[in-house]
Structures are given as structure tokens and as C-alpha cells.
Symmetry: D2
Subunit: 345 residues, 4 copies
């Protein structure tokens, strides 16, 4: 048993972490923090947890005590805050899994350009926390920058095609759609129920912050920089991301070539479900689980490939992925505590 704590437990990603950690057989959840709700029981803020935990929300000011009582610390704070925690803990033995963006970039100047805040912890001993691409580095990292939600869906959809050089890397367009839980728990005008139901729109066109994160991972695989178009949309649902990725295939690439790259890269991955060519992944089929489902289509008329990927943004896109990283970092079986059957219907 290891001891873990959550800094920022009252956002949706934090609450999902609590859920999954309470069911994890090798973990004890010891501390949870929230600045806005400190002093309250976690189950007062999230009544679904009534009777399941007695944890009281603490202030981040208790960080030294918390760190002393934790082997791992998950951070689920808005960007810009995790790096302060990372710096504060740099000389302690505690290891960190950050669910935000602060530790996702190799080049912190890119972070600064897109996030509009200075990065105060460059050269941190951190790795990018997407197990399917970076498993070895995760095992021993001090800090794991857990991959983002849209980015997980987008990168894993295209990684095989780029790694195997099947597509024109100037042709990539990712049209992504997310449920509203990804926008957080704070009520806002456009996520107010009467405004949000029976409504559909795009946002952040050409400016969304997951763009450079996707480009970083795909450029690494490509061995050379590439640029993409990434367009997120809000779906009137709670959980789930579907990414529809478009790219032009190189001449003579066949359907079989495409299928083989997926099988080669993901054949042994415990959380990647290859639905196959012609398949239509549905966010509903992965809801509540750590799976990513992948399907792909080739249009013979335009010689484009269209890859579809589906995840639960709060699980494979956040808390589940974080626990997958924890399992790797602890040397546990990667699926420990993550053998989650999707909720249906």
C-alpha cells in the first residue's frame, strides 16, 4: 500500500481521482485539499461520496505535512499553480503526477506562448505522461505531466500513421468534440443547463491550448516539426471526447498498411481497443472506463484517412490516465484499479 494525496480535489478531475483511488487495491488516499472548500468534508462538496470517505478538505498551506504523509501527490489545479507545488516539493522524496498543463512541455517557451504565464519551473525533472508513448520514462520520473484529454484522443489516433510515415504531415486536421465535464465544475453562462442542452458549437478555433501539446507529441514521432489544425466543440453531454482526425495518405499506402500500423503499435496495449477499419467508436462505449477506442476509414476518392478515437475525458483523459501512470511509476500491474467496465446505458 502506498499513500497518495490530491491537491485540488474538488474539480471534476479531482473527484474522479477520488472515486478511482477509493477503489484501488494498493492505495490509501490520505489527504485532499481545496482552497475554496477547506474545512468541509469532501462528501459535503460531493454528496455522491456520502458514506464512502470521511476525508476533510485541507488547505494547500498544509503541503509540508501532506507531503510527509504521501508517497505520491496528484495535482488537479488550474495551470500555473502546479509548478508552485512542484517547486516546493523538489527536495522531498514525494513523486508528483500533475493533471494540468504545467509539466507537459519539453520547451517551456511554448507553454508560455500559449498559456500566457511565465513558467517558473523550467528544466523540471518531468516527463510527458502518456503511457502508450512514454512508458519507460514514466517508471522513474519525479514529476509526470499527465497528458491532456483532447491531446490523448488526438495523439493516439495519429501516432501510428506518423511513426510509420504513412501520411502527409502538412495535411493534419483534428476536429474534436467534448462533453461539458471537461470545462470544469464552476457554473458558467454557457454551461447552464437551459443554454447548453440541445445546443452545439465550436470554440477556441485555431487557438486552443491543446494544439501545441498535440504538435509536440506528433512532431517527436515525426522526427521533425509539424503543424496541425485543431478545432474543439462542445457536445450537450457530460463525459466523452470523440476526435475525428483527417490526413492525406501518401501515394500507394493501402488499407492494410493503415490497419497494420495500428495493430503493430497498439496490439498489446491494455487500454487501447482497436475496433478496426470501418468502425465507429462511440463515447458511450468507453464512458466510465480507461479505454480509448479507435476506428479508421479510408476514402478512396480523396485518398484521405479518417481516424476516429473515443475516450472518457475524465478517465483516460484525466484521472484514469493518472492512475495508469501511478501504476507504472510504482511497478504495479498497469491495469490495477482500472479494470473498469463502462457504464451502459
Amino acid at each position: 500500500m502506498i499513500k497518495v494525496s490530491i491537491i485540488g480535489a474538488t474539480g471534476y478531475a479531482g473527484a474522479e481521482l477520488v472515486k478511482l483511488l477509493l477503489q484501488h487495491p494498493k492505495v490509501t488516499l490520505t489527504h485532499v485539499t481545496s482552497e475554496s472548500h477547506q474545512g468541509l468534508a469532501l462528501s459535503e462538496v460531493y454528496p455522491h461520496l456520502f458514506g464512502l470517505t470521511n476525508l476533510i478538505l485541507e488547505s494547500l498551506q498544509n503541503l509540508p505535512t501532506i507531503a510527509n504523509d504521501s508517497d505520491f501527490i496528484f495535482i488537479a489545479l488550474p495551470h500555473g499553480h502546479a509548478m508552485k507545488v512542484g517547486l516546493a516539493l523538489q527536495d522531498t522524496p514525494v513523486r508528483i503526477i500533475d493533471l494540468g498543463a504545467d509539466y507537459r512541455f519539453n520547451d517551456t517557451t511554448i507553454y508560455e506562448t500559449w498559456y500566457h504565464v511565465p513558467h517558473t519551473h523550467p528544466n523540471a525533472p518531468s516527463v510527458y505522461g502518456l503511457a502508450e508513448l512514454n512508458r519507460e520514462a514514466i517508471k522513474t520520473a519525479k514529476i509526470i505531466g499527465n497528458a491532456g484529454c483532447y491531446t490523448t484522443a488526438s495523439i493516439l489516433a495519429l501516432a501510428p500513421l506518423i511513426q510509420h510515415k504513412l501520411i502527409d504531415t502538412n495535411s493534419i486536421i483534428i476536429d474534436a468534440k467534448s462533453g461539458t465535464s471537461g470545462a470544469g465544475r464552476s457554473p458558467k453562462q454557457d454551461t447552464h443547463y437551459p443554454e447548453f442542452y440541445d445546443a452545439f458549437k465550436a470554440y477556441g478555433v485555431a487557438t486552443h491550448r491543446h494544439t501545441p501539446e498535440i504538435e509536440q507529441a506528433l512532431s517527436d514521432l515525426n522526427g521533425a516539426p509539424l503543424l496541425i489544425n485543431f478545432t474543439p466543440h462542445l457536445v450537450p453531454m457530460s463525459r466523452g471526447i470523440l476526435a475525428t482526425a483527417y490526413a492525406t495518405l501518401h501515394a500507394k499506402v493501402t488499407d492494410d498498411d493503415v490497419t497494420k500500423t495500428f495493430e503493430t503499435m497498439y496490439g498489446k496495449e491494455p487500454f487501447v481497443r482497436l475496433r478496426g477499419e470501418g468502425a465507429y467508436p462511440n463515447t458511450k462505449y468507453v464512458r466510465g472506463s480507461n479505454f480509448i477506442d479507435l476506428g479508421w476509414h479510408i476514402d478512396p476518392r480523396t485518398h484521405r484517412v479518417i481516424v476516429l478515437s473515443a475516450i472518457d475525458n475524465l478517465v483516460k483523459g484525466a484521472a484514469g490516465q493518472a492512475i495508469q501512470n501511478l501504476n507504472i511509476a510504482c511497478g504495479y500491474e498497469e491495469t490495477t484499479g482500472l479494470q473498469l467496465v463502462p457504464m451502459y446505458p
Copy 2:
């Protein structure tokens, strides 16, 4: 490890049983049947199960083989069909948990009146499968007639008040609301998405078949027959039942008297969460779990008590309750495989 099978695995209750049994540490799921989809993989009919099970749907004609290979059989068939299975297995050692109505009535003439079919297995060695009221009898029963969804929510809301004689038993009105998963998986006009969303209506007023089941349990507690009004409604959501139960308190009954009856009856129940006087249970807080949440209110102007109860109709109202009964029948810890944290949001 015991071996269990599911007769009728492709309805929603069946699928929820599959989900929960796949995660149960002391159970192996050996057979699943479906007449309409026999020969298909279960994961073809329910793609969310892709990669989680290799079970193939069999025909009920294989019942003898299935029974030989099972310690327990769950039946999730429309009413009228389970009794055939019960009869066929009466001389085998296999024990049965029926999620339908066939084995819920002490007096099968009541069943015949409300369900409009003859009962071909009267005097069956069956008990009513609502653990909070009937735990002892469940331990050794050959056949367990798992309590219905509306009935679980309704009976548990009122049981303490009746047992402790706090209310006028002629004054009971239960106004209940259910998500659409309770209406089954077959697509129908009025559960077609465009018709069902942003819509609300009642149905089955004064005629719903859960009425006599509620009356049976409450009359037993009362020690004398009683009649109720029960009105179900369809909520544009998938899972969840909220029952709003009204009754007139006897003169001089106080708030404290009411609260004490709930605490006395349910204080040690693992799946009953007493939210207390003035509380508002929400179906969302129990979704995906086996909990029933209870809150109660007293109107001093009319001296009525209003009890609110919330369950997930597919879990505490069907599959979870069935496993709770299985655990009792097997002598397992009652919460085995049912330590489910609700999905939120």
C-alpha cells in the same frame, strides 16, 4: 468462486448484471443466453463490453447444460417466462434469482390479476428478495424473487413509518419518477430520443403493476391489508428513480419520532444512506451504485410526512440488488463486489 449464469442477458438489467459480475471477486460468469441474439458474442450486442468478455450468447434450449455448469442462475426475462425456468430447474441443486415479477408474490392470484397471465408455479420455494426486510429468508431460499425497481424505492421509503405505526395507512400516495432505462432496451416510439428528451409525462396511473407488490410488502409490515396510490412518471434521463411518498402522520407524532424510526430500522444497513430530515436525495448521487438515499420532511401545516428516496433502477432496483441477494445466499459479505462509487458527474 461460484459459477453463475444469466438467462436473458441482453436487456439492460442483464447487461448491468454482466458488468457487476465481471467485477465480482468471488464469481465466475459461465453462461449468458438470449433468444434474439443467440450465437452472437455478447460484446457484439453490447460494444462497451468489447475486450472484457468472450462469452457467446446461447439459447435457453441449453438450459440443462447451463444449469449443470452453474451454482446460481439469474433470470432477467419478461414476466411469465421465469416461472418456466423455475419449474424446469426445480429438481436441480441450482439456485435462482429472478429479476422479474414471477416470484415476488405470496398470493399468486394477485399476480394473475395484475399481470393477466396464469401463474404456473404457485407454491414455489421462493422468497421476496428485498434484503433490508427479508434477509434471513433469503439466506437459504431456492428461488429469490428480486424486488422491483419502483417497489424498492417505495417500500424502503415507507417501511419504518408503517412498522412503527406512525402514519395513517389509508393516506399513502407514492408519486414516482423513473429514467427510461427502466422501460427496456427495445426501441419504442415514445422512448425515441427526439420524442423523449425535453418531455415529461405520467403513465400507468392507478394501474401500474408495481402497485400490488408495494402493497404486499407494506401490508405485511402493517399486519393488515392496505391500499396505496402509486403514480409512475418518465423522466428524460437514463438511470434513476426518485419516489416521493406522502402520508398523514398520526396526531402527536413528532419530527424526532420520524427520524428515530429511520435510524432504528436502517442504521446498520450497508446500502441505505440516511440523508436525514430536510434532505433532498438526488438520483445523480446514487447513479451506478447500490445505494438507496433517503430524506424526509414534515409539513407542520398539514401534518403530513413526505419521504424522498433515490436509487439507480438498474443497480439497487435490479442487478445490484440481485447480487446483494446472491451474497446473502452464499454467505459472502453482503457488500462483496458492490462497493461501487457512484459516477459523478
Copy 3:
């Protein structure tokens, strides 16, 4: 053509008024106010109105000018604010239709008890604005206190039975369910989309402020005071109220007696649709229209009558009713501008 203005145009009731008035053939909408958004175009606050109106939101400080330029003023402000406007306009010729609670009570001490604010305009020249009960008085009233949403659905469901003395007036229970638009446009935690969808709960049990308003109207019909239980619930949808009203029939009252009272009272009403005995009104069937649909059921076992009523809370429960009152007050055909076909699906 008359000139009308809206005080408080940026709540949902105000926006629905704008929609309906823009389509009304005998009305010019001249002014709209909003304290929080003054100076903005109405179509900036409500982008669906883009291109349909050039009105700019003014401050209530412009009230004298607005009154000079209006024959009628609609007020759609939170309770406690309309009476200030009413007082300010008492010596002007402008007539007022208040969509809030300030002018709904004959006895302002009841208002003060339930709304917890002093009433500063008692003995106002106001009438209760529910046309089906009070048409004559509305014709000439200076101030019309437009009936509330839950109250319209509840009162019209029971009025015929009380007027014709068919029910025990001590037995009335109204279990009502509303979409979330009734809770206003301000985003709140519990109407945040991820919290609200796939969720169902009650609120305001035994304390909701529409209780005394229902009691006032039903007591008037009864000729003697009566008390009711009223329980509101929140449905995961936007528009619509369904009220399920229960009462015990007097001995010997028959199904025909019940049906006749509805036909007698509402046979000529343009907005009351009698669906008949055994019918199930659905909020979807009235969405976007000014109709109230009524169905009724009699349980021969308990001799209770169950009446079901459905309205669109923003139309017949607010803006549509206000225009119905306007039409009456102006001597227009009552259906002018209200011949709205429900939106389906």
C-alpha cells in the same frame, strides 16, 4: 397598435416576452431594461435575437421616459422589485402586467410571511392574472399580477373539482415537476449541465412560495380556506411543468361527474385542451405554446382522482399568459399573437 415595454428583459421570462411580442400583430415593443446589461444590445445578451431587433437595454432609471412611451409595461423582475415600479407608476395612465409575485396576493400579509419582505404597495389596484378564473376583472385592471407557473398548472387542474364540490378539500396533494428554465438564467451549481443532466430531485418541500398562491385561488373557489401539500421537483429538461394532483372524491362521485366538471368549466377556453379521462398530457405536446393540457384518472380502489396538467412554464406559465392578459385588457381577441403551434420534436 399599442406600445409596450419590458422592465427586466434579460431573464428567461423577459426573453420569451420579447419573442412573443415581436410576433404580436398589434404591439410595438418600445423599451427593454436590464440593470446588469444596460447599454448592450438585447441581441448581444441573447444572440438568437440577432437581426430581429435593434433594441438597446436601458436602465430602470429611465422609467419616467419609458412610461411616457408605453401603454403597457410588463415587469419581469425578482419579487420585491415590481412593487417599486408599481408605486412609481400609480399616477400615470400606463397599465402594468407583473410576471412576479408582488401583485398576486389579496392578503399581502400572506405574501410577507412566505416571501420574507415587507409589502410596500398593499391595497394596490391589482387583480390576479389567471384569465380562466378572473377574465372580467382583468379587462379593466390597472395592475395585473400574472399567475405563477406552478400555480397555473396546479390551480387549473383542480379548479373544476373544487368549484363543483367533488373532492375532500383536506386531501389535496400536488406533486409538480418543472424544467430548469423556471429557475432562471443565472448559472448555479445545481443547474450546471454536468450536475443537472441525468439527475432528478425534489426541492422546497412544504415551503415553496407557490403554495399560498395555489391555496388562495382554490380557497376562493371553495368558499372557505383550504390547505394543500405542494412538492416541486426539477426535471432534466428546459421547458415544461407537469403537475400531478391527487384528491379524494366524495362518495358517489362518478367518472362522468368528473369529466363533466372539466367540460363545463373549460369547454370554451381557447388555451385549455381537454385530453379527457385516461389521458396522459406530456409537456412536449405544449412546448412553445400557450396551451394547458389536462387529463384525469380515477382510481376505483382508493376513490381518488388524479389530475395531470402540462404547460410550458415560460409561455402559459409566464410570457404567454401575460400576453393573454394583455389581449384581454386591450379588448383584443384573446388569442392574438398566441396562435402558437408547439415545437415538436
Copy 4:
């Protein structure tokens, strides 16, 4: 007043036609047909119409009588059926507006390739019914092939850019999202409420039948054939289509160039609302209206333009567009009966 009839009035497009025609000041709706519900009152099949129309559903066998009693006939039948009606009426004076695909293609071999049925009425006196592109031809046409839903949203998003030669016509990708009303009224497994809510998926990748219709219109504007990728998705909502269209701008094309093409082409269109560069059209803002809202974005990094368009698929994508065409064909003001304020919220 003209007389119009609807062949196939019980699908969603037919029902929306009924709604709009009942409110149209210059039209009398004389006949409605339905093979599956003939003999029933329309208001039995669509209870929201109760009290609004007494029309009885007739069989198509009455076509001669119906044609005699109609100036215009709307056809809302599945593809393959309208051409039979068109042929039967070719020697009558009645004019036809077909909401299906049968009369949308200049080259009926393309129709046959994508729809897999022989076209039995080639060389029909028909025109493509998209007013913004084809207004003159519509005025006098015998048969109008009303543009499809996805196609309207897609074509109008890209038409200005192609007409003004701003984009690489080999680079067009249209990622479209639709509410479920577009899939019709017949209940199906994947539009069953519990399956469809909180779910998102693509379908018809590289094979959807609206692809050649979009290509036809854009190729005509282009003056040369072009191919596109079109990917539809199902959104858990009822009404609305959002199309996200991508194309690579020619070198040196500026933001202003793009904006000017939209203003030039659509500045005087009554139903096109130009939201401008940087805007995010939302399906909610057009729901229930005949508007198409357009916004556009330019990514300076990739020099792609992203155009967003939103319509109500049943109005501008079907019934509203049909009435717009009717108005043009009759010489009425184009907005007659279509001055619809969107329903919000």
C-alpha cells in the same frame, strides 16, 4: 390564398411543414397523406397538434383528387418515392416541392450511384431548391428539389470562398454534426433514448449521400469538378446542424478578403445571418427558425480558413427552406410565414 398538400406528412419534416403552413398567412393546407397512418387524424399521430387541425391522413391512392385540390404539393417521402409522384403529376398544373433527394441532381447517374436505385424520372423539369444560389430558376420551376439539411449548411458555408476563388478546392473537408431529428421518426436501436443520450459518434464516413450533392453545388460554383471529404456525426440533441468546413486559402488571401466575400454574397439575404470573423454560431441560436448563421476563422499558422455554419435541420434544412421556395415560386415576399424567432432556451 393558395392550396397546398403534403404527401408524407407524418415524418418529422412533414410535421414541421404542417406547423409552418398552419401559421402561413397565404396558404391553406388541404390534404395530408400517410400510408402507415391513413384514416387517423393527424392530431392522433402528433398530439401536439390537438385542437389545431382537423385534417385526416389520406392514402397516396387519393393523389388525383389531392392534385385537383392543390396548387402546390410538398413531398416528404423517403428517396425513390417522390419521382413516382412527380411522374404521375407531370401533366397536371400542380407544382411540386420535394424535400427528398430525387430531384436534387443534374446528373441522375450520380443519384443512381449513391442511392442505389434507378432514377425513373430523368430530365424532369426540376431545379435545385437552394434559394441563395438558385433563386431565379426556382421562380418558375415545375419541380423544386429542396436542398438537403447537411448540404444547405455545407454549401452556404463554402460558396462565397469558391465563387471568389479564395481556396484550394482540393483541400476541402467538412466535418458536420446533426441532432437526431434528422434521422427520422422511426424508433431505432441507436436513437433509443438510453443509447443516444450522453453519446457521440460519427457515421457514414466517406459514404454519406449528401457528399455528391455538396460536390455538385460547389463544382458548379467552381466551374470545374471538385471532391470533398464529408463526415457526419450524431449529436445527443434533437434539432440542429453545425458544419465545420476547412480549406486552405490561396497564398496572399487575407482576413478581409474572406470577410468581404461573405458580405458580398449574403449581405442582402433575409435568412443568412453573418456573425462575422471570429464568431461561433450555435445551433441553439437558430433553433425553430429559418436562419443560417455563419462565422469564420483564419489560422495564420496553417493558412487555413475554418467556416462554421448552423441551421435548424428541420427548418432551413427542410420545411422552412421548402416554404422559402414556395414563397419564391408564388411571387410572395420570401419571408412570408417564416418570420420565426428562434426558441430560446
